[in-house]
Amino acid sequence: MKNVTVSNLSLVLAFALVLVSIAISAKEKLGLTKDILISVIRAIMELVIIGFVLKFIFHIDTLWLTAFSTLIIIFNASWNANERNPDSHKKLWSSIIAEAVGTYVTLSLLIVSGVIKPIPMQVIPITGMIAGNEMVTIGLCYKALNESFHDLRQQVLEKLALGSDIKMASMPIIRRSIKTAMQPTIDSAKTVGLVNLPGMMSGLIFAGVNPIYAIKYQIIITFMLLSATGLGAVISGYLAYKQYFNEQMQLRD
């Protein structure tokens, strides 16, 4: 663990990296200086708080507190995914169901297969990783749904006029949105190792773990993200398309 110790002096010196982006903003007159400072202060405060909270939870080491922490992570991820939905009739529960099912199904498989132990030190970071990736996927799915319902509006109206139910009328849109949402995870899986060394693998290598063991974990993480984002995209897509119709099965404006 000696390799991963960061002294306070190193931390302060690393702040010079922030000054680089502030200097770019000032020189190019981008007007981002205030935003950069606020984001840095927020990141420091949030990370310090979460550091102490995690230390406390790891120390207590009880099942109910671990479970409660996963609920908080899932709710936050759902809230943020829902905020990315441009549809004015969006429903938060769609995001919560998609996030919860995707996260807990994947997490359960990891625990049952013995990949991780049901201890807070492993469950909480993995939950954060799954829920965070799902959040991005669900947000992408919502955006793609919104754009497709706009672009293919006439086709949906034609199908409704022919007596189709809303699912059949929306099927090409749902499929397109799920595909768009899953694409970044699939693309990223194609380049793992060749282009980027993901955070989990880098962290283990930093901590002095044999790269072969780190790779094993990364393979599992790749499988885990494919499962979680797939579930998140499918569930959110099939729940959210309904919000584009009213109770008379008419396409909303």
Binding site: E158, S164, M249, Q250
Partner: protein, 217 residues
């Protein structure tokens, strides 16, 4: 017997009133032609009858029942709306004509499709034609056949012959006539003078839905 009745129907789009207190009835088996200036609300009336939009107030009855209380899917399969500029699905004609069977979970009846294609002078090979290669008239024929594969009780035609050449118009008229002869009530919106002149029942929609009934026959 009245098949469709509009009673005190208002329709507002934002703050704009499109239809104000509109009331009229359509008799079963009738061929009604709606005419009037652009923006008078003729297409809106058809969409309201098709239950693709709902009135802001007032009621539309189908066989005496409020359409808002009927199953929208079952209702739209009986009261079919055809768009002025139809959008076809997929890549070929074949991707479109089986759609009414797919949504009803039924086997495609090729004999039925063949008989409909014969009415519009199209050979069976027409099914394999790519959508991108179809003329406006051919697209409209596909859209109309798609709507009448299962004979509807009411067919709502929203300027379906606008922009078509003489021959295409004639073919579309032939198809509509054949549907009407089989007992389907037809309500069409048109600006075409030749269609208005031969129409028996004409309803003139003036500004914001005031009606003036004419009878040529």
């Amino acid at each position: 017997m009245t098949i469709i009745e509009l009673k005190n129907v208002d329709y507002q789009m934002g703050k704009r009133t499109i239809l104000n207190n509109l009331s009229f009835g359509i008799k079963n088996g009738d061929f009604l032609t709606l005419i009037g200036p652009s923006g008078a609300g003729k297409s809106t009336i058809l969409k309201l009858i098709a239950n693709l939009i709902s009135p802001s107030s007032g009621t539309i009855f189908y066989h005496g029942s409020d359409i808002q209380k009927l199953d929208p899917i079952k209702y739209r399969r009986q009261v079919m709306y055809c768009f002025q500029q139809p959008v076809l699905f997929g890549k070929t004609v074949k991707d479109n004509l089986p759609f009414p069977y797919q949504i009803r979970n039924k086997e495609v009846d090729l004999d039925r499709l063949d008989s409909l294609l014969k009415i519009v002078d199209s050979p069976a090979e027409f099914l394999n034609k790519e959508i991108n290669s179809l003329s406006g008239g051919e697209k409209q024929r596909v859209a109309l056949i798609r709507s009448i594969v299962f004979l509807p009780k009411v067919l709502l035609l929203d300027e379906v012959t606008t922009g078509l050449d003489g021959k295409s118009k004639e073919i579309v008229h032939r198809l509509i006539e054949s549907v009407h002869r089989q007992g389907t009530t037809i309500v069409q919106v048109t600006h075409d003078q030749s269609e208005i002149q031969v129409a028996k029942n004409v309803l003139e929609i003036k500004s914001r839905g005031l009606v003036n009934e004419k009878c040529n026959g």
